[in-house]
Symmetry: C2
Subunit: 344 residues, 2 copies
């Protein structure tokens, strides 16, 4: 199972091979290949020719060890199945494309122990920085981040104590704002539908902000429903049916993500329920998918691409330093009323 080099057949090429093939010293070959220092056009050409001829690919492991310079940036996220994270990645890649930096992705599946392992593994490659989702980490993880001596950017949440820099929205605020908008529109019997994920701290914070703002208006969440696993769209349908059967007088449903919200919307339309007259609906995230639905679900955009871009920019600016200077970038969640949150 483990690797066990047979050094079978062809040994990987080294600088020395290029040096011998071109009759130029290893040192000068190295200079040419890295565009460093002055090299005459003539030798440069000779070297490049030889390198291409042989199909030489530099060994970054040796290079990194010698220079203690690694252009990798660890990006640690909970999942790839939730489109939110690939979108953040898009923003990150966009910025790194103009730099020598390269993102390396690690996935935690929302497990703190896995986060710990992934982080340890990535730090052992001595990356130039870390971008990591969330502010909640196990003690060992936090200790590793603090001891790493490289720029750290925690993303997608600002409600808590960052290790170093932080970029994202306040999920508590997002929850509060959604609650206010809903109440302002005159909805009173409000149901909440979410994922059964105690470790999704951002969803939890949104819910806390939500209930807190409702409480200010003397309103309590009238009913709630949680799910785990399976197709979010299908689950959204099922949960909506369940909650409406149990509590038929609900006049608003707040979903913890757009996917289950979309399922709920499709269910309501199927059943001929008047949306947003009889029941209003809202989700969270502003996913692209919503554009194609029969009606535009109200949602709140968390600015994921921008989050990715900003985090990457901070890392790029602090590459080689021992921290990201504790920068703090708070993005504002954008409420989109769509067609399902305007009882007019």
């Amino acid at each position: 199972m483990n690797s066990d080099p047979l050094h079978s057949g062809k040994r990987p090429l080294t600088l020395r091979d290029v040096s011998e093939a071109s009759g130029v010293s290893e040192m000068t070959v190295s200079r040419v290949l890295r565009n460093r220092g002055d090299v005459s056009d003539k030798t440069r050409a000779k070297v490049l020719e030889a390198a291409k001829q042989l199909g030489y690919v530099p060994n970054k492991i040796a290079g990194a060890l010698a220079s203690s310079r690694v252009n990798l940036v660890a990006v640690i996220i909970p999942s790839l199945s939730n489109m939110v994270f690939p979108e953040v990645m898009t923003g990150i890649s966009e910025i790194f494309d103009d730099t020598p930096l390269q993102p390396v992705v690690g996935v935690t599946n929302y497990h703190p122990e896995r986060e710990e392992r992934v982080l340890y593994e990535m730090l052992s490659w001595r990356p130039s920085g870390v971008i990591i989702a969330g502010l909640e980490h196990s003690d060992p993880s936090r200790a590793m981040l603090e001891a790493a001596g490289i720029p750290i950017v925690e993303i997608m949440d600002v409600d808590g104590e960052p290790v170093d820099a932080v970029v994202g929205i306040s999920h508590r605020r997002a929850g509060r704002e959604m609650a206010s908008a809903i109440v302002e529109q005159g909805y009173r019997r409000i149901g909440f539908l979410g994922t059964k994920m105690p470790l999704d701290h951002r969803a939890r914070k949104r819910f806390e902000g939500f209930t807190q703002a409702l409480a200010k208006h003397g309103i309590e969440v009238a009913d709630q429903e949680f799910y785990s696993g399976g197709s979010a769209l299908a689950k959204g349908r099922e949960m909506t049916e369940t909650i409406l059967k149990r509590t038929p007088d609900l006049d608003f449903l707040y979903y913890s993500n757009d996917m289950i919200g979309a399922g709920g919307l499709l269910y309501c339309l199927d059943k001929g329920i008047d949306v947003p007259g009889q029941i209003g609906l809202a989700g969270f995230n502003g996913v692209e998918l919503l554009d194609g639905l029969p009606r535009r679900l109200a949602t709140m955009d968390a600015g994921r691409i921008e989050t990715g871009r900003t985090a990457a920019r901070i890392i790029a600016e602090h590459a080689g330093q021992s921290s990201a200077g504790a920068e703090r970038v708070v993005l504002t969640p954008q409420l989109d009323f769509g067609d399902t949150l305007n009882r007019s």
Copy 2:
């Protein structure tokens, strides 16, 4: 922009630090940390204590250079936005979780030049293997793969000449089978809707297989429509509207992916078109999303998770060797008639 270590403040810890702190030789410390060779429980304990105390994280760069063993596997895919690829990743991670191997993702955005760059970059870290989507690569890319001297697995397509091992379905066959099923159900005026991506070879092959099989029945694609960019679901709606306005007598629409197919389905239902009586529909991929739609879109599952698992297994079995032994695993695409391909 580039990293430029200030060696600011705390120098990263080395084995030597642990050695000194524990009073044990570097070599024995190394053995303890890697669980190699015999070490007395007493010294083991001392070492582990010291390492934990200091917060030592081994330097894999140095380790890899010394042992010429790198437990990274390069995984090169076109995109993260299309859920198909994260799903393959899921299969890969699942298998690697039980091994010391770690996937490292590179994204090409369907650009051959980008694929070249990403591949070069990854190979320069001397990974234990490469898993790469597709069989079409630029000449330099192919040369690099052939010269790498490590196991290579090309995935998600088997129609072509693999470099080494290959795992996936035949997209030509998938196209042919879908065409046959459609014709068998009595549909005759068939439209095709797809992405405007000349470099998506798998979509192209499906289309080729599709038209070829239709031709055997003396049928030609009656109309086609292509899109690029934007929300696939919304685009599916638009394109469906466009093609039906232009060619109102179509009785079947074949979409190159489920997302635009779902958009088309929603459009047809909106317009009160009888599906599958008046018009039949089919997509491709078997994405989870389909489960939540008002009607189940016909589709063809390409077995992405299984593809990921199999590719990872092949790499794991051949780790340390100079090739994957040219294994060839052909998966069978599963046609799912859903509710939109049965004119009964």
